[in-house]
């Protein structure tokens, strides 16, 4: 197996990264005849899009799992390198198509770092509001999809989408589109939110906790859910850190790393919120991280909606069209609902970014998929994958 190669190449150095657990699951020659090779995906009800896993099964047990990517490789980076800085924003919407607002933010943050742009205060608040609404709907949706993968005939997903629709209505009212908001701009946001919008948002934020409660009543104590998720897809802490896993998945292993706290980008240092931490790093922890973060998001939303000042929403000095940052490079990152979303930009002084790179949390969180799945059943693979929270638009870009 490939891992052995690596060991040879680097001389079995202890300091090297923890590798696949494959060694202990090596296929015995005598078992070969029982190995069933299946590919799960690319068209499969629970691979969340066009993901594919080439799985080798021994009975029901996974002995090898190779993720295959690229079925949604849309050349985002190439296209962005051929377009202007502004033109890339609507494309970022389509990266993680569930969270266009946070994607916008990640990109604008990188451009702002690159070109030294400041953002007016009100715009910062609006960004936080949008990002947290996005986080909420993403997490709700994820829990729904996860339960769907467990075969819950769609009920939790329906409830999640019921709430999501309300949030999308807000997005649409302010940005004009439900999913592809294209709302943030470097130096601010595109349009201001009206007072009515603020009022509606406040009302919605007021009822969101009820939805979380409903979710918890429906699911949290469910024995089947617990039995199917606890101890499944366990991710050891060291491996998680070494493999660059970020977001709720990392925090489920107990590592306290939330970029909102670490980088304090935007104005996140003004809000009081807690970072929930898991302990076991299994699917249940990951699920609970999302639920708890939903509650924290609500709390951030409440604060932001209370404190938001009046003022302009766009830095007037910033040139949106025809921006030409000085030659140089910048890496900007945010805590997207899925993990660290980073944008790496190299400018050569022209109107197009010379290099545009998306550090996608989904792709990197998938690095350890095989490690989490070895020795488990196919059903667990599906659930584990579901708990990683991937969106193929971002994995393949």
């Amino acid at each position: 197996m490939s891992r052995d190669l690596m060991m040879d190449a680097t001389g079995n150095d202890e300091r090297l990264a923890p590798t696949y657990g494959a060694g202990q699951h090596r296929l015995k020659a005598e078992r070969e005849s029982q190995i069933l090779e299946v590919s799960i995906g690319p068209q499969h009800p629970s691979t969340h899009g066009v993901f594919r896993m080439d799985v080798k099964l021994d009975g029901e047990r996974v002995v090898q799992l190779k993720p295959v990517f690229g079925y949604l490789h849309r050349n985002h980076e190439k296209i962005a390198e051929n377009g202007s800085y502004l033109a890339a924003i609507p494309y970022t919407d389509r990266l993680d198509y569930l969270c266009s607002m946070t994607n916008n933010w990640g990109y604008t943050l990188a451009v702002e770092t690159l070109a030294g742009i400041t953002v007016p205060e009100r715009a910062e608040y609006i960004r936080v509001i949008m990002a947290e609404l996005t986080r909420f709907q993403n997490h709700a949706g994820l829990v729904g999809f996860l339960l769907q993968d467990m075969g819950a005939s769609g009920t939790p997903l329906m409830y999640a989408f019921r709430e999501r629709e309300k949030i999308l209505d807000l997005f649409e009212a302010v940005s004009g589109a439900r999913m592809m908001c294209n709302y943030l701009r470097f130096g601010g946001v595109r349009v201001d939110c009206t007072p009515e919008w603020m009022k509606e948002t406040r009302e919605l934020v007021g009822v969101l906790p009820r939805f979380v409660d409903e979710f918890e009543r429906l699911l949290r104590g469910n024995e089947i859910l617990m039995a199917r998720t606890q101890g499944v897809g366990v991710l050891p802490r060291e491996l998680a850190v070494n493999a660059g896993v970020t977001g709720p998945m990392l925090r489920a292993t107990g590592v306290n790393y939330d970029i909102r706290k670490v980088d304090r980008y935007g104005i996140y240092d003004r809000f009081k919120f807690r970072v929930p931490l898991g302990e076991h790093g299994d699917v249940y922890d990951r699920y609970m991280m999302r639920v708890l973060e939903m509650r924290e998001s609500i709390s951030i939303l409440e604060q932001a909606l209370k404190e938001i000042p009046e003022g302009p929403v766009q830095d007037p000095k910033t040139k949106l069209r025809g921006l030409r940052p000085k030659a140089g490079e910048a890496y900007g990152r945010i805590e997207s609902p899925k993990g660290e979303l980073g944008f790496y930009l190299i400018s050569d002084g022209t109107m197009n970014p010379y290099r545009y790179r998306v550090r996608s949390p989904c792709l990197i969180n998938l690095t350890i998929l095989e490690d989490m799945c070895l020795g488990q059943s196919v059903a667990d693979v599906v659930v584990t994958l579901g708990s990683v929270d991937i969106v193929m638009g971002e994995v393949d870009r």
Binding site: S153, T155, L218, A227, D258, K261, R274, L277, V382
Partner: protein
Amino acid sequence: MNVSFTMAGGLAERVDQIFVTLDHWAVAHTPGPLQWLVQILLIVVPILAVFPGLFALTTVLERKGLGRIQNRYGPNRVGPYGLLQPVADGLKALTKEDLVPRTADGVVHYLAPLVIVVTAFLVYAVLPVGRNMTAVHLNAGLLFFFAIGSATELAVFMAGWSSRNKYSLLGAMRAIAQMISYEVPLILSTIAVIMIAGTLAPEKIVLAQASYTGIFPHWYVFTPWGFAGFLLFMTAAAAETNRSPFDLPEGESEIIAGYIVEYSGFKFALFFLAEYLEIFAVSGLGITLFLGGWSAPLSFLAVIPSWIWFFAKLMVMICTFIWVRGTLPRLRMDQLMNFAWKFMLPMALVDMVCAGVWRFLPGGALWSVLRWVICTVIVVVPYVALARGLQMGKKVEQRVYRYAEEG
């Protein structure tokens, strides 16, 4: 005929027996040599008409019910209230191209849906759907039910194997493993009833429950062993018929659609039909064994015809199935098997013992209370123990989460 029946009065009796009377009338009015034919037709045709009809109704009901659970309407445009939806589905299935994979085993592939439908229909022969309304009176009716029902596993195997598709075969193996595992508790949980009723004939079991104390019926479900047996039976029935949360063989999130992956057109519809027919049949059996079959729940309600009661109870069961399906996620294979062998089977055995104890404890005022208590203990203690044992070593628990300290 029956104690409670006398108070129902003549008209009620006539309505109750309307089908029986019609049957006799029709038979009496046919020429002698043909009588047997008419007699048989009058039994077979209603079964072939009513239950598929019920199937059609149930599919809409299920889709609408799930819709309501999920805050939406469900099918409501095809015909009044969407009631014609199954007709459209059926027409579509009928005119759909029938695909058989090239490498598949054609004959077996063709036979599998037939076998499964035939077995599903056959078991109705012994189901009493109303007073004097059992198609075939067999002394060993229950055994017939299980014997015929066991052919389903074979049909599933045929379907999965002949498709020569990995998912189907995997699905079929799962399905068979699941069905055989749950068949044991299914049969064993009926034994308690048989022990008390002393017969294998379903209609006699119903009759054994069709008396009342005051207005309350003597259904077996109202005894400790009966209650436990009922739950066991229905759980096993859900698993046996691949209903949620035991719908692994079709667990689409892992193995697409299980053993029916390669079936299209009406063959697929037949699988669908058979699945529902099995659900009705096994629910009907559950009703017969534990819920007093066609007897009314309260003595004065006996004026309502018995077959209405049967179908009303059936509807309740179906609705419960839908409800459960709308709520629960699916179990995993190992959990499913563990549950069958480590919980259901021991519980079924305990339940048998409990029924035995129930029978041998003497009657009398004080004793009947004591009997209740003893039997409840006999059932509850193993329940708790086994439920605990199920999670032993797995540490399945509600967790408390900590937060990073502010920093």
